[in-house]
């Protein structure tokens, strides 16, 4: 990740002025651009679903990667780049949500209600209209406790193991498994309501 070279932006004939003036990360920091390409989708997705707002997610993703660039020398090889970026993103989103929750009251699914519900979280989830899927997922996640939401988003990433999720959320693997079971159930209940 060292050797981050600075190079001039190439302008191509036929490009509009805006496009010519637009900087490319690849030309500013090639190695870092590779890192961005490999992980930006997952980081943006986490920010989007945690914050529930496209503009906020855009700002957060930018800030997360900028922090990563500033502190890239502190990265230790014992964790993966993905988990390191997730850690920055989780803390960043937590700070944003903390500031936000001071001004708003946040609804959350009742744990007792989830525990007593007869919904089987292992049963398939049917979606009739894929166009509305993102909206329904957001509505569902917004009804869940922040911890459940985060665990579901992390476990959905194929690259993360239970061990890494436990480390990212500062708890044991058994606690993660238990909470995930309840989180899946809560999601299934809330998702049905959005139909």
């Amino acid at each position: 990740m060292s050797n981050l070279a600075v190079s001039t932006v190439l302008t191509r004939p036929g490009m509009d002025q805006d496009a010519q003036q637009r900087l490319e990360l690849r030309s500013v920091a090639p190695d870092f651009a590779e890192l961005y390409c490999a992980h930006s989708r997952q980081i943006y997705y986490l920010c989007l679903r945690v914050l529930g707002d496209h503009a906020l997610a855009e700002d957060a993703t930018h800030d997360v990667f900028l922090k990563a660039w500033r502190h890239r020398a502190e990265f230790r090889a014992e964790s993966s780049w993905r988990t390191w970026l997730y850690r920055i993103a989780i803390n960043h989103c937590k700070n944003i949500r903390r500031a936000w929750s001071l001004r708003h009251i946040q609804p959350a699914a009742d744990d007792a209600l989830v525990a007593n519900a007869s919904v089987d979280s292992s049963s398939p989830l049917h979606v009739l209209e894929l166009k509305e899927l993102g909206e329904r997922i957001q509505k569902t996640l917004d009804q869940l406790p922040a911890e459940y939401k985060l665990l579901l988003l992390l476990v959905a990433d194929d690259q993360l193991s239970y061990e890494q999720i436990a480390a990212l959320t500062d708890q044991t693997i058994d606690a993660v498994r238990g909470k995930l079971h309840r989180a899946r159930k809560a999601f299934a209940i809330e998702f049905q309501k959005t139909a």
Binding site: Y45, E58, H126
Partner: protein, 77 residues
């Protein structure tokens, strides 16, 4: 002639209904787990290109600021 037209209309209607049903079927989807659904949603989510542009600008600014720092600051932080 009239009968032929009616038959054609009926055929067309049937075809339209069938097409609509096929479209609905292709739009509908079943996910075996929450994770699978979220994975699918993540794959469908486009990362706005403006983030990369902003990031490039921010990184370049930082690099420029670092270059502009006097030698003694670079040495002693």
């Amino acid at each position: 002639m009239n009968q032929h037209t009616k038959k054609l209309e009926q055929q067309q209607k049937q075809q339209t209904t069938e097409t609509k049903l096929t479209e609905q079927k292709s739009a509908a989807r079943e996910f075996s787990s929450v994770e699978e659904m979220l994975r699918f949603d993540a794959a469908q989510t486009q990362v706005p290109s403006s983030i990369e542009v902003r990031l490039a600008e921010s990184v370049q600014k930082e690099l420029a600021a670092r270059k502009a720092r006097p030698w003694w600051k670079k040495l002693f932080g």
